[in-house]
């Protein structure tokens, strides 16, 4: 702010560009144009939903104010009346040096429409901050703004600066901690120019494709998958006119950013600004609602934390991150865990346990209630013996005694849950009936959030509910009121991704297995070595939960995968054996492995290929294996120099039969025989293996027993040979 004022007073000496300096403006979109927060957003706009008991928009406005923004245009669309009323009654309407103006629209269906409308109003006169009303941040804009302005001076095409922050995505679910999909960005490390942006990467394909020119034009490109888009953009005026020129731009990222990156005629550029110590995040779905609430309670957003924002006299922070308003009625036997927030006028009964939760104002909570990881808004009544886990409970809800909310439940406004009723996991309950399903067409996803909500709201509230009440009572147990929304086909398995509840372990395990397969595909593709290579090592590094923790083991696993990929490529592209040997050798050197490991790894990949190629019966599998072994025996042979290495192969095979490729278990002796026939394994090796195994545990001897006959035969043959020699 200070810099701005100086600019205004000391105009004379400054260059003409400085002359046109305006107070810093911001456009705040008070509508997310999505339906992720349904059914709650049918009744109240998302920006007014309480986040740790303070409406989200307050965090955004407080930040804008402290960051030196002087004029904010709040664009409201869905429930615009509520937003405007709220802003007028709040403190924001009477701030010095900070004006909040609302712009109302009833027919905007996307961020693009909103910006076009703002352009028509002609209220933005210079650089502005574009933000949505559900963003929480405490970053300082000064540096980012300065960078933006400096770039503008040098290059008029640098029209936008995006704020990004490091945040590692989960290697298993491929989503960030905010529940959004893993984001890929290619950034020029020197200029910080954004070259590529992809938030909907196809994991089934397992690769992303970069434009060739991108790599040709830039001396260095870093591809990030650990950056989080904060949805805070510093834009120049051109951005608005661009939206007007391209009337098909709807979504800020999907259309606008990607559009600019692809379009090289206009030559507009987008840059990034990375923040390190400050916080910025956007609430995009229920998962991020949960995550950001916890971040706020853990004070990452300081000074935008509840005790500071609502005037410290009202709320006190105690040990273990407990935020408690001054007039909470708390039973002596109630147990409050760490990281909880309890709002004013709330009463909590005997033996109630609360942990990691936010409880709003004027709630009544009975005895023996368990609340974990839940968000309870204002005026909620929870009777005795209820259990809530990872749920969101909106204003005015009543839980009759003994009701249970399973993880991920969303109860919208004024829902009543009957006695002893168990609300199943991930269900969304509302007094309003679910709107009929829209087409899954991309465009309509935005359309229905606004046009749909307005109508629906009036329709439903104007009397549809009353006659339905008796009918729907059964849906939520005796005395319950509300509809349980059905989950659309296909959406169901995605439900857990964005829910407030943590991802269930069985999902994680399943994903982990899937991921292993994915990775094979990923490495298989040789065209994008730089990209896939980096990604792979990245995720390997992070995925220490599933891999062994030891480094060497990790190394070996990734080495094995590389070898496998090389081998597969050799198979598919008919690479000559000599070349394949060379490549595997190169890998061996780069991973610092012994040739023993190479033999094992190649054999492993061969067998895996055999298992994966189509087969119906054991004999067919055997034939497959035989084919592969015959074709590639030279490759394998070149790494089996002595007996030890051959034994290693047998051990590896044994391991495979036990773990990854159980189909082979039955074929063990046959394959062994095959390998012997092909002179890959010498009889000495097999016999020594057999000798070694003699002394092992019973369980280890399964395969030894199976191949007993073969070994017997080998021994006899040997003896015969000896006899013959004599």
């Amino acid at each position: 702010m200070g810099a701005q004022k100086k600019g205004a007073t000391a105009r004379v000496s400054e260059d003409p560009e400085e002359l046109a300096r305006h107070p810093l403006q911001a456009i705040l979109l008070a509508d997310s144009f999505t339906t992720k927060f349904r059914p709650i957003t049918l009744e109240r706009p998302k920006v007014l939903l309480p986040l740790v008991n303070i409406p989200m928009i307050n965090y955004t406005l407080a930040w804008l104010e402290s960051a030196g923004v002087e004029e904010v245009f709040v664009f409201c669309c869905a429930h615009s009346k509520q937003v405007i009323d709220y802003l007028e009654s709040s403190e924001w309407s009477s701030q010095p040096n900070f004006s909040v103006t609302t712009i109302e629209s009833h027919n905007s269906i996307s961020a693009g429409d909103a910006l076009r409308l703002i352009y028509e109003r002609n209220v933005i006169h210079g650089d502005f901050v574009l933000i949505s009303g559900d963003t929480v941040s405490n970053m300082s804009l000064t540096q980012a703004l300065q960078e933006h302005k400096d770039r503008r001076k040098k290059d008029a095409n640098a029209i936008m600066t995006m704020v990004v922050k490091q945040s590692k995505p989960s290697p298993i679910t491929q989503q960030s901690r905010l529940g959004t999909d893993e984001l890929f960005m290619a950034i020029n490390p020197v200029t910080k120019q954004l070259l590529y942006y992809e938030d909907k990467a196809e994991y089934s394909k397992g690769f992303i494709s970069l434009d060739k020119t991108l790599i040709a034009d830039n001396p260095s490109v870093i591809l990030h998958n650990d950056k989080q888009d904060c949805y805070i953009d510093i834009c120049s005026q051109e951005v608005l006119s661009l939206f007007t020129d391209n009337f098909d731009y709807q979504h800020l990222r999907r259309h606008f950013v990607k559009g600019l990156l692809v379009d090289d005629i206009m030559g507009y550029k987008i840059f990034t600004h990375e923040i390190h110590s400050s916080y910025a995040a956007r609430i995009d779905n229920f998962r991020s609602y949960d995550t950001i609430s916890k971040d706020i309670i853990q004070r990452w957003t300081y000074p935008f934390v509840p005790d500071v924002l609502c005037g410290s006299s009202a709320i006190k922070v105690e040990r273990q991150g407990t935020y408690r308003a001054s007039d909470v009625t708390l039973s002596r036997s109630a147990q409050l865990g760490s990281f909880i927030f309890i709002g004013q006028g709330t009463k909590i009964g005997n033996d109630t346990k609360i942990s990691h939760s936010v409880i709003g104002e004027r709630c009544t909570i009975g005895s023996n209630v368990t609340i974990e990881g839940s968000y309870i808004w204002n005026n909620v009544t929870i009777e005795d013996g209820c259990q809530l886990r990872n749920a969101i409970v909106c204003d005015g809800v009543i839980l009759k005694s003994g009701a249970v909310l399973q993880p991920g439940v969303i109860l919208s406004f004024k829902v009543v849950v009957g006695q002893q009723f168990v609300v199943p996991a991930y269900s969304k309950v509302s007094l309003l009936q679910q709107p009929t399903q829209q087409d899954s067409d991309e465009e309509l996803e935005y359309a229905d959030s606004t046009s749909g909500t307005g109508e629906l709201r009036s329709d439903k509230l104007n009397g549809d509910i009353a006659p339905d009440l008796s009918e729907i009572a059964s849906e939520l147990g005796t005395g319950g009121v509300g509809y349980i929304w059905k989950v659309f086909e296909g959406a169901y398995d995605e439900e857990w991704r964005h829910s407030v509840a943590p991802i269930p372990t069985d999902k994680l395990v399943k994903l982990m297995l899937d991921r292993d397969e994915d990775e094979e595909l990923l490495t298989q593709d040789g065209n994008i070595i730089s990209a896939s290579g980096e990604l792979k090592t990245d995720s390997d590094g992070n995925g220490s939960e599933d891999d062994d923790n030891e480094d060497s083991r990790d190394d070996y696993v990734s080495f094995e995968k590389e070898v496998e990929a090389t081998f597969l490529r050799a198979v598919h592209e008919n690479v000559k054996v000599d070349l394949a040997v060379l490549e595997v050798n190169a890998l061996r050197l780069s991973y610092n492995m012994a040739s023993v490991d190479c033999g094992g790894a190649i054999f492993y990949s061969m067998m895996k290929l055999a298992v994966e190629s189509p087969h119906n019966s054991a004999s067919e599998l055997h034939r497959n294996a035989a084919d592969i072994v015959t074709t590639w025996q030279k490759l394998l042979k070149s790494f089996l120099h002595d007996i030890d290495e051959e034994i290693e192969v047998i051990l590896k095979f044994e391991e495979m039969c036990l773990e990854s490729a159980k189909e082979f278990a039955a074929l063990f002796p046959q394959i062994l025989h095959l390998l012997y026939d092909k002179e890959i394994l010498q009889e000495d090796a097999i016999l020594r293996w057999a000798d070694e195994k003699e002394g092992a545990d019973e369980s280890d001897k399964v395969f030894l027993k199976r191949s007993e006959k073969f070994i017997q035969w080998l021994r006899e043959a040997e003896e015969e040979e000896e006899e013959e020699d004599e």
Binding site: S167, D290, Y302, L508
Partner: protein, 381 residues
């Protein structure tokens, strides 16, 4: 008075958003704000003092609520209230003296009476001097009975004011306001010069070839050390860096530019170094009524180390930091928990903070308190 209202709101906002750093700046701004509140207050004919007190109290309460951790605000508000009462008292006694003077012409033999006003005037002068005296901990202790006594006399002054309906009320009302503003000006002056006043005593405390240890950064400490340096004392300073904000680094830099022999150590090395130290000199956030000190985090440890090795532990604090409250549960209630990002990098730890997997609750807690409470027994002076 829309003007002051805006000023108050602006200041409230700044306090709330934690935009003002340092208790001296806060104290000074509070005093300046209260001065403008006083000058804008419309004065009624009767009971001007209570009108002033009322308006100052109204503003003061809001200021204190805006950031209860910043005790300097409350201290300054109390000081200003004290000044108002005091000036009111001195005016009424002066008026009484006038009355006495007129009475004197009637009764000529009364010498005792003549003595009495002079005596009370002297007492008032002493009282006012005591508040304006260079602040130190000793004066605080002397101050306490004084300030307790003053309201008592002021009430009796109020009584007498009711009785004496003197004619020169309008001039007096202007005079009261004027005097109060004068006194507040002096207070502001006091706050802004407190460092120099403290620094003046530096030579008495720091001796030749001593080793001084300090933690973090305090401007008062800096001035104190530099004052001793200017007086040709040669000594060495150990600076503990003061994690997590590492303001000790700045202090070390500052000291070196002023030509002081400086050694920078980590906070955890304090105990190892303390045996070589002759005196610990630190700044404080506030000094409580029981003598306990609210100070930047890490100081309690330094104080304990100093006690263990019988090293004098000296806290430097301006008068605006002396707080008449008794600390209750100060580690929590008078503390400010700042962002964990000062301790660790969010990006690097973002995978530990993924609430989507596992139990859905953070396993990593990061606590970043701003202040430490040093109990009075660990302090030397």
């Amino acid at each position: 008075m829309p003007d002051t209202q805006a000023l108050v709101n602006d200041f409230l906002n700044k306090l709330k958003k934690r935009k003002i750093e340092g208790s001296q700046a806060t104290a000074k701004q509070t005093a300046e704000l209260l001065r403008s509140v006083i000058s804008q207050t419309r004065m009624p004919y009767t009971n001007q003092a209570s009108a002033l007190i009322h308006s100052v109290k109204a503003v003061g309460e809001r200021l204190i609520a805006a950031n209860p951790v910043e005790l300097a605000v409350g201290n300054v508000v109390r000081r200003v209230l004290h000044i108002i009462r005091e000036e009111d008292l001195s005016l009424t006694t002066a008026a009484m003296a006038g009355l006495n003077l007129s009475a004197e012409s009637d009764d000529e033999d009364d010498t005792d009476r003549d003595n009495h006003p002079a005596l009370s005037a002297a007492a008032i002068a002493a009282a006012s001097r005591s508040t304006l005296r260079p602040p130190s901990l000793q004066t605080l202790l002397e101050d306490v009975p004084d300030s307790a006594a003053v309201p008592h006399t002021s009430s009796s002054g109020g009584d007498s004011e009711g009785k004496s309906k003197s004619a020169d009320k309008s001039s007096r009302s202007r005079k009261l306001k004027h005097d109060v503003i004068e006194a507040v000006n002096e207070l502001i002056q006091d706050i802004s010069t407190c460092r120099e006043l403290i620094a003046e005593q530096a030579v008495e405390h720091i001796h030749q070839n001593e080793v001084i240890l300090t933690l973090g950064s305090s401007r008062t400490v800096l001035e104190f050390l530099c004052a001793a340096k200017e007086k040709k004392r040669s000594f060495r300073v150990f600076v503990a860096e003061g994690a997590p904000r590492y303001q000790g680094h700045l202090l070390a830099k500052e000291l070196v530019t002023r030509g002081l022999q400086t050694t920078l150590i980590t906070d955890s090395a304090v105990f190892a170094m303390i045996s070589r130290v002759n005196m610990v000199i630190v700044g404080a956030h506030a000094v409580m009524a029981n003598g306990g000190v609210i100070a930047p985090v890490g100081l309690n440890m330094v104080a304990l180390a100093a006690q263990k090795h019988a090293v004098p532990f000296v806290v430097l604090a301006g008068s605006h930091k002396l707080c008449p409250l008794y600390p209750h549960h100060p580690e929590v209630l008078l503390n400010e928990l700042r962002s964990p990002s000062e301790l660790l990098d969010f990006g690097e730890f973002s995978d530990c903070l993924d609430f989507g997997s596992g139990i859905g609750a953070p396993l990593l807690h990061v606590v970043n308190p701003t202040f430490d409470y040093v109990p009075p027994k660990l302090r030397r002076a």
